[in-house]
């Protein structure tokens, strides 16, 4: 009233007020109504409240600028309720504590929802403009500050939760639903509350628990059962997370278990006596290996630990295998052993190690390492194939053949000296073809195709040439007999195989003296062949032929003898003589001494096939021996095959010879590589040349740097290259 009279004195014209200020008493009264409603909501007495009236009251307070009063009143009322709730939770005894907390939390949430409904208008207009916390968030913050972080609850809550988990770990059954609600509450209060008040201590306690447990297990368990226990613990923790923890905790708790139970004991586990990795590999413990793989995979360096141990084990085992002199006696068994070894470990990798590429690589590199420790491996692999292609694959289906060939190819890939293999393979193939011993043409061709895919056209062109020669020879012989049959009469039948020089591993040998009957036919064939092909030269390779001869022994026993050409020559001599000395035979046939001895050995010294009799009786042939036609020879077979005593494996001098030939063959290849490289690079230093040559040739063999150096020197002599005048380490290409 007073102010009004003053204004009148000043004759001031007052602007018309649009908004009529709300009576402060009315604001107080309205707040009291709302405060009462909040009390009733907390006391579960909301059924008598009118939402519309309360909403309108809150609206009016905000509209008339009493938002501040409303908000501070709300904070004070909620705080006093929460303090009361805190008291009641604190008073809960023992196990009821969590139940009470959960119960009150549910009540608070429900109340908060209703309070927010009433104050929705405030939330929408007053809160954003005055930068206040929205009602729902405010309710959660107050709960956090006055309940969860109150001194009497915070530590007790944490201890209770950790204790329950500990009890569950030791086998008790706990109320997982309640745990779920409480952890959910902590997450609702913000991820930092969940982390600080629960997750961090949980991880710490877990770490010390598993550290202790793993110490205990490692002392009293073998590797396999330790891993089983670790796996079970890991699964338990993951299950725990899925039941009542935040999904984000899974990575953290599993990494704790992984660290404490696996990473910290990795070395001890793999090397455990009598049950470690090596034992598992030896005994094909697929389950244990698979468990170790999946557990170790989870920790850093885990798989490499397994891989390293496996590699050194494989190398050692392989080294023993390939250097075992007992094994070297039988090449076929030697290679079969390697294949079995490969199969065994392939199966381990595929069943237990998830076909892990890095493990396959480790296996391959180990094989590569030890196969090349023995320089006879290329020969043995070829011999193994020879054995399989001669008889081993008889009756096998096409698929089975393929499987065997593929496996051998796998070993072939490990070889560094592929050219040595080629050399042997050619020799063995030649023998198979000429003696007609191959089981199946398809299998032979399939092998050639595989080698071609692996090493290229160059590698197999000569091998393929051998097949072509065989085919051409067959046609030639048909033609020969068609045209000449009239002249030939009923002399011995001749089958000639015309071998292209270069394609076959032939050695220039002094031709032996053939029996006159044979010589006549041979001459006829020569005339025929040179008549149809001009400009060719025929050389008889008597060391490689075979013959079927009919022989009549005492009491009229008739036998058909399958012998080599040399043997045939020897036997034919006995048509006109009953006994001959070694010297006489040698003179008559002119067969090289070594071959003659072998051939006589097989005719006279093999039990059951001794068509000749030797005096004196002994195993070896000496130059003073005398040979007689063995009249008493009998056999239950009409056809008798007299094999040559051939060393399956090469003898030491032969081996040297082959090696020398390989070395000779390598020279032009190395030189060609050097020239190719220098042609494109013009100038290069010594070490780079060696590196590039090695790279170019490694598909065929591993060239020796010393040999490369010699080849470079030879090329310099022949003026393909020159040394740089300033820098002696540099070479220049001379065009």
């Amino acid at each position: 009233m007073n102010s009004q009279s003053q204004r009148r004195k000043n004759f001031k014209i007052e602007a018309f007020k649009h908004k009529v200020e709300l009576d402060p008493k009315y604001a107080e009264r309205t707040w009291k109504v709302l405060e009462h409603a909040i009390h009733e909501i907390y006391n579960n007495n909301a059924s008598r409240l009118s939402f519309e009236e309360l909403y309108r009251s809150a609206y009016n307070m905000v509209l008339h600028k009493y938002g501040d009063k409303l908000y501070t009143g709300l904070v004070a009322t909620m705080t006093s309720h929460l303090n009361k709730i805190a008291k009641s939770i604190e008073s809960a005894q023992g196990g009821l504590f969590l139940e009470k907390l959960n119960h009150k939390w549910a009540d608070h949430n429900k109340a908060l929802q209703m309070i927010r409904d009433i104050l929705m208008y405030m939330d929408r207009s007053y809160v954003p403009t005055s930068h206040k916390t929205p009602v729902h968030e405010l309710g959660l913050n107050l709960w956090r500050d006055h309940i969860i972080h109150s001194t009497n609850i915070q530590a007790r809550l944490q201890d209770t939760l950790l204790d329950l988990i500990q009890r569950e770990r030791t086998g008790d059954v706990i109320n997982r639903g309640l745990m779920r609600n409480i952890t959910k509450m902590l997450m609702d209060l913000g991820s930092s509350v969940y982390q600080d008040d629960f997750e961090k201590p949980f991880l710490d306690v877990s770490a010390s628990f598993y550290s202790g447990e793993s110490q205990q297990f490692i002392v009293c368990c073998d590797c396999g059962s330790y891993l089983k226990k670790a796996e079970r613990r890991l699964n338990e923790e993951m299950e725990r997370v899925s039941h009542y923890l935040d999904a984000k905790t899974e990575v953290k708790i599993t990494s704790v278990v992984e660290r404490e139970m696996i990473a910290n004991h990795m070395q001890r586990l793999v090397h455990m006596d009598n049950s470690g990795l090596v034992n598992m590999l030896m005994d094909d413990k697929y389950d244990d290996l698979s468990r170790m793989y999946s557990l170790f995979k989870r920790v850093p360096e885990g798989l490499s630990t397994i891989r390293d141990v496996m590699t050194s084990y494989l190398r050692e085992r392989g080294r023993v295998l390939v250097t075992d002199t007992e094994r070297l006696k039988d090449p076929v068994e030697f290679v079969q052993c390697l294949l079995n070894e490969k199969d065994k470990h392939d199966k381990i990798i595929s069943t237990a190690f998830n076909n892990d590429k890095t493990f396959q690589n480790a296996l391959n590199s180990s094989f590569e390492y030890f196969i090349n420790l023995n320089n006879r491996s290329p020969e043995f692999i070829s011999l193994y194939l020879d054995d399989k292609l001669r008889k081993g694959l008889k009756g096998a289906s096409e698929e089975e053949v393929e499987v065997v060939l593929d496996k051998v190819m796998m070993l072939f890939r490990y070889l560094q000296e592929k050219d040595v293999f080629e050399k042997y393979y050619k020799q063995h193939l030649a023998k198979r073809l000429l003696s007609g011993k191959t089981v199946s043409d398809d299998a032979e061709r399939s092998m050639i195709v595989k080698l071609k895919t692996e090493c290229g056209y160059q590698f197999t062109s000569k091998l393929e040439g051998m097949f072509t020669d065989m085919k051409t020879s067959e046609d030639t012989m048909l033609d020969f007999y068609a045209k000449q049959s009239a002249e030939l009469g009923d002399g011995p039948t001749l089958a000639v195989q015309i071998l292209t020089t270069g394609s076959w591993p032939t050695q220039p040998t002094a031709a032996c003296n053939l029996p006159p009957e044979i010589l006549t036919v041979c001459e006829k064939f020569r005339t025929y062949y040179l008549g149809t092909h001009s400009g060719r030269r025929l050389t008889w390779q008597t060391n490689m032929g075979t013959a079927d001869i009919k022989a009549t022994f005492g009491k009229g026993h008739k036998h058909e003898l399958n012998v080599s050409t040399y043997q045939m020559c020897v036997l034919m001599l006995f048509n006109s003589a009953d006994g001959l000395t070694y010297r006489e035979i040698e003179q008559a046939t002119e067969i090289p001494a070594l071959d003659l001895k072998r051939c006589l050995q097989s005719l006279a010294c093999v039990k059951g096939k001794n068509v000749l009799r030797k005096e004196p009786m002994s195993k070896d042939i000496s130059e003073e021996d005398v040979f007689y036609f063995n009249d008493k020879f009998t056999s239950k077979f009409v056809k008798v095959k007299i094999g040559t005593v051939v060393a399956q494996k090469e003898s030491e001098p032969e081996k040297q010879e082959t090696r020398q030939r390989v070395e000779e063959d390598r020279k032009p290849q190395i030189e060609a590589a050097i020239v190719r490289i220098m042609k494109s690079r013009r100038v290069l230093d010594h070490n780079s040349i060696v590196a590039e040559v090695t790279k170019q040739l490694q598909l065929r063999f591993l060239p020796n740097p010393v040999v490369i150096k010699k080849r470079i020197e030879s090329l310099i002599e022949r003026e393909f290259l020159e040394r740089d005048k300033a820098d002696r380490k540099l070479y220049r290409y001379l065009a």
Partner: protein, 445 residues
Amino acid sequence: MASRDRVRFNVGGQLFETTSTTLANAGRESMLGALLDESWNPGQPEYFIDRNPACFSTLLDLLRTGALHIPSNVPEKLLYREALYYGLLDHVRGAKWGPFDGNTLRLADSVPGRAPGDGTAIRAAPDGGCCVAHGSMVHVYNWMLEERRPISLDYQQVNDVGYIDANSIVITARERLGKGDGGMAVFSAATGELRHRFRVEHGRQPKSFTAGALSLACPDDHHIFSSCKGRLNEYGIGVWDHNTGQQVDFFYEHPGCSLGDADKLQWLPSKNCLMVATLFPRTDNCFIGLLDFRDKSIPWCWSDAGITVNLEDKRVLHAIAMEDGHSICVINQYDDLGFIDLRAGNTNSAGTGVRWSSRSKLMNQKVPYEESCYPKLATHNGQLFSCMNDSISVFSGSEHVLTSTLRRSYGGSICDFSIGGDRLFALHNEENVFDVWESPPCPII
């Protein structure tokens, strides 16, 4: 079942009957949603609401049909107030105008201002509101076009404004000599309060600077770019993170390309580059370049230095990168559009790279009168917009065919326009008026 679904209201004495299905359209976060929630003893025969029945009727109709029809006897502002009471304001806004299409725009409103000088810039807010910069003031309007509290950066000359989100406005202002003011800051759109001031640091020393053109990067990396002029070496483009408020980068001006005076900045997400255009009349020669902040390089630039000799020549007066990021569209003083291909390597050589498309419109156009403004360009959803004198042209399709012209009879030439929140705002040079253009909601049939 049917009767249980039925809900009766007595609003200010008038009876309404509807279904809970219809009311469910209001959502749980509305007053009606809470009223029917099971925590508040629902199932009463009738709910009383002490509010205006006419507005309730309109809003109930909105919930039933999704369309807004305001009867002539209901003032719009009253309806908005009631919608706010029920928590249905977002529903109303969503139904008031349709999805933006430059070819269906209708003039929805003209809002007069009271600023003393020429307008500087107008910007559309993401929610349909806008702000207008006049001299040293920025007037802010919500989507109902009610004016909020104006904002200013110490009453400095405002150079540019932009919305970070519907509730945050960033302002760049000129520095007054000798005072550490000017620069760049974020304000609350609702209250006009200063939230944060961005600093430029040079050699770890905060520097006073003039901030010019603004650009926001794509929403996910929170970067703001602004051209900056300090008194020492702080010429160039500054980059700030608007979440942390900290300066994160600075691109110092290279010789021969003026960045500190740039008229237009635009972030090109497809190129991971910022387009900077410095144009006539601020500089004599136009410079357009793409800045790569990762290695501080300018992978592409264009300039007309050397080809414009007198004022009659075609001059690039505004530039905008097209939405596909393949070309830049430019405009000259005759309202001709031109395109520069961004893929054609560096076209630094004498600005020959512009493909001008002369428009027949130019022939019968009246000579620009004295109070003309420089033309501006904008793009939206594949359409291209240009303002010249008192009209805005809309170009559609990949060939940019002129399809619509927006013109109004008063207010003089348009000095700036902006598209956002499905609305187009055009600020006129005279009478401080700005127009609001909307695409009407789709017709029922």
